[in-house]
Symmetry: D2
Subunit: 371 residues, 4 copies
């Protein structure tokens, strides 16, 4: 397979380049009879959209998705067949890219795409463009709806860090998307958000970019999702999150901080609460041996500073000529973090919806067997 699909039972295939006919997604494996959540999808796409605030690129795309298949026109319910959503490319100024068709932008995928495919789309980033994530975010919104309806799962991500500014501790049991969206930076600690905003604005003023990290929590996931070996839920989440553009690392629970702890300080004791078996602490981030414990999933994803900057940089052309490259000030975000929040939520939702479906049939009793 060529790596444009993800998921086993809730399977998404994204398609489209940044400057072709459009981008979109086919979702295969959504159960039949789900009221199709077009409003939720549009809302998540709006959070991903460029040009949504003064902090992001001014490339304007309303990104309204067109529904091609999989939903009953009469009832609005999913049919159990592939759901296809397309967002047309409208604001495609490929002339912008003419100058760079023969050179390799530093830390972009220009060179590596050519190394793999022997060619690349001469205009825009092709599949490496963040625009590819439109399909993921749309599918993720559907996945979130499934998870909420079936188990009340809530997935909330937020900007935890921009450059060297970190959010103070957030109450992960209570954080909501509304609180996250209260500031354009999508950090619920407003004091930190203000500083992060200043960091972003300063980077842009300098023609530069800045990185950061996002935390995400998934509350309400029942015990027993995941698999023991290669498809540990942490493994699957790590693979899904690291497939987002510009990611550099991912950690779960206490993450790298756990590496300095002793077992006696890190282990989560089991206890009971209202008759249910629960962990007294949640340093493991809701997963043991790759399978969920019922406690909230907790994770963090690190993003590099985006490669597009407006300072002169050294690079080479495809004939090996050394050149200086400096794009005209253009339409790129100096910091992807605020717009990456719905992308992170989407990837987490896609993995969880897939594992919700995969958990069916794990036990003989699921089949209604009698001996």
């Amino acid at each position: 397979m060529s790596g444009n699909s993800r998921g086993d039972r809730f399977r998404v295939t994204t398609f489209g380049e940044s400057h072709g006919g459009g981008v979109g997604v086919v979702i295969d494996g959504c159960p039949a009879g789900v009221p199709f959540p077009l409003a939720e999808i549009a809302a998540q796409l709006a959070r991903r959209r460029p040009g949504q605030s003064h902090l992001s690129t001014q490339r304007k795309e309303d990104d309204l998705p067109e529904l091609l298949s999989g939903v009953c026109p009469e009832t609005g319910a999913t049919l159990g067949t592939p759901i296809t959503l397309v967002v047309r490319n409208k604001d495609a100024r490929s002339a912008h890219y003419k100058d760079m068709a023969n050179l390799y932008r530093p830390s972009h995928a220009d060179y590596t795409y050519e190394a793999r495919f022997g060619l690349r789309a001469p205009s825009g980033g092709g599949r490496a463009s963040a625009r590819e994530t439109v399909g993921r975010v749309a599918a993720g919104a559907l996945a979130q709806t499934l998870l909420r309806r079936a188990h009340g799962v809530e997935i909330v991500a937020w900007v935890d860090q921009v450059g060297d500014v970190y959010a103070a501790d957030v109450d992960e049991a209570a954080i909501t998307s509304e609180a996250v969206d209260a500031h354009a930076v999508r950090c619920p600690d407003i004091a930190a958000a203000t500083e992060m905003e200043a960091t972003i604005v300063a980077a842009r003023a300098a023609g530069d970019s800045v990185g950061g990290s996002i935390r995400c929590v998934a509350r309400g996931v029942p015990p027993g999702w995941g698999a023991p070996v290669f498809d540990k839920i942490t493994a699957d989440l790590a693979g899904a999150l690291m497939s987002l553009p510009a990611t550099r690392g991912v950690e779960f629970g206490e993450g790298f901080a756990a590496t300095t702890m002793r077992g006696s300080a890190h282990n989560d004791a089991f206890t009971t609460s209202d008759g249910a078996i629960v962990t007294a602490t949640n340093r493991s981030g809701g997963v043991q041996g790759g399978i969920t414990t019922g406690a909230p999933l907790r994770m963090r994803v690190g993003f590099k500073p985006v490669a597009t900057i407006f300072k002169p940089q050294q690079t080479v052309t495809n004939t090996g000529e050394e050149v200086t490259f400096q794009p005209a000030k253009g339409r790129h975000d100096p910091c992807v973090l605020p717009r990456a929040v719905p992308m992170v939520e989407a990837m987490v939702a896609l993995v969880l919806a897939d594992h919700m479906l995969r958990a069916l049939g794990a036990r003989d009793s699921d089949l209604g067997s009698s001996s």
Copy 2:
């Protein structure tokens, strides 16, 4: 699928519990005609084996693999058919586990396995045992052989950190497995290794455990391996590495440190060297847009302190009764890091061998087409 297989074209399926007939692996997709590297496989298994030094569990297993299929007895070459390797379980003292059959060990998979499957193997860790990795390490040694023969790829991992002791910078261009194995801790910085050893010994003396991290470099990977979207090579490596027991995080290139940098400081400029296009720096860790650049792959994996400790801990039984749990001093490593080095190398090799094969056919010219 049930998560016991990994890889698309070089596909491994591991099987076996810690206390059943044995553990092993089926490798499907190995090209025909490869001299089967039994010695290399045995050598990597020896690095993974318990009881190999005073730092690890005294559970004795020589772990000699038995070859059931896939190799021509007459020539010793692979046949292009599934290769099956089995290691018998010999030292299975399941009586050890009788006491814990009804309670949930803190931060083990006992509870989550029951949540998923409705039951668990009453003896030992079942598939959650690190013994499951025997098959991965064996398959990984074969993958390393393929990679070395075809492209001279070298994969070297080492212990970078134990508790709060960190290795000084290691020359990633020169580090060898021999240097790594010079100390039982598998840290090539001998001064740090000595301190790490003391940290491990102290943890064991306290009936406790300790975490740490491993770095890995893969040199000689050509440009063009990987895929643009979900199967970015970083995504695939992240998923593979996070499927190892006790992992808590993974990062690539500068990793989380990149999140505090500006783009102008993080971008890798392209230049030429001996006529080839290369990057002047390698902060991205050998990958752009999910596809290899030709520079060494660089990554780090964090491991939690192992859950098995010999102090009393609070937990509950499967009927919800609160109990104190303290295992008899037994056969568990206080620190998995030294033995995890070959596991990390194996997972990296499995991903890279898979992508080596997947890269074939990416271009029309690979098919010998003429218009």
Copy 3:
């Protein structure tokens, strides 16, 4: 997975219902650099299109495909990314279907869809409609182009039988699509075609339908494609062909006729021709042990008479009420065979293109290894 994708390395996912926004296909795994054969795709779609002759339904659809992704607008070459083609639904008279929303048409999928999904699209056949094959035929035309460019493979299918009228023996070494298309029935034996036409016209006049069979030959397939066990090329072709609507059986080489033969009469002796090893006969249909011999692939597919007829039939509603069902004379073909010819070619091409790509990397020497 939900069964809307097929292929391992040349992978197609079809989407769309007969009466929603449109139908289409995503093709993932097409090598980069292939001149996109839009004309060939349009030509094959024209052969599949309803209303193309007096023998088929008068439902008018020009079925012009819209290209959404995967092809470079500047050069017309494939990018190595997913190729998406959509054909809009235009002539959707769902009112036609109102009457039958609550009853189960005999030998249609109405009842079984409800049994699986708990609901069905109230208008038209949903995914069971032959309209779903638009995406297959489009993708198949691309696959045929790949196969032709790389190996000169030619795939030709023709109508071999309608009702009890059979074509005389056709010269499988010489048959061309042009000869097949010389008669609207798509049988190259014109005398038989004339009789078949009469059979179809008579069935239509009676408000009835009629079945038949299609033969297909693939010439130019090199030796060595396929796999030994579950993915024998015959197994894969059988699965692909039997996924077409209305199919009832498939056979290869001598097919069921081989079951009455002795081995000495059926075996294909090896000999040499111009220095190449070939079989003197081709009773096996170009495959031994699931792998191609280099001789032409030969197969036959049987189609039932289509379920839509215009005579009164007994059936029940979804509340179990017995009713008589007789559709208004409408837009359905009395015989699918002529339009199924490009569908058969498409499925064969999809399987072969997939196996062409899968054959890469079967040998150590494919990797350029040195010892």
Copy 4:
């Protein structure tokens, strides 16, 4: 993937050559808590075993399976982890094969294996040997147990034809495995069986082989299993059955006979029986649009005469030299049909068990969703 695995949720991977260490299977996806049916597995293997009657090869193998993993030693229940079964190769007289190491036996896979892999196992048929089916039959017996326990599904296959001898009509609603096994030929029509036996004995006396066909029925399959497009249950069964050695064709319901019928004669009217919706006839063989109707599945598989005969045949060596090949009278069945009966049952069971699991989660209500 390399084609040694089959199934999506109930996934089997077979391994092993005819003359290596052994053959076996890994079954991944079996639900936990199923009493492991070792006796049923042994019984089906005994039906597949060579040397079981005077009609089959005298190669003696007791074929007792060894269980390596996936079953709890204490309780005998499946663990939800991969189940591995191995049967050792004991009676491996590879000297038998020395003479033929450099020539291509007519209608064997010798030539095609070399074409694919660049080499072949010099002794025996490697993966092309019918011995590979040991793993399938073992896994199929487990699948049959799952199906029986959950839904009372019964799968019965029998020899319908040997050469030009056909069984009279069999009562498909009542046929049992016991009736099938009453004669060594495994044809429940004893008069026909006696004639078939004579046909086989005559072929053997002539140093020749003979083909035939097997019918199979699966009773008790509930409505709603299967999928609309590529994974139609007929498509999946066709692919599975055609992956058996020596198969030449497969058909469902009325099969190729349907091609000569009119729709009014072929359609299955719906009616009610005891309040349930059923079809009055079952010409479609229990499947509409790729999804089960609840009526028995009905199918037929055609097998060629086996390629191994003891008459002189023309062939060539791997250097293109023309030679006459005549094996010493040896250990091969003149007719595979009797031993193929459990193989057919196994493949049908594997497909059905997979679709039983895949049917879970097809509807929103399966998830316990509330709006």
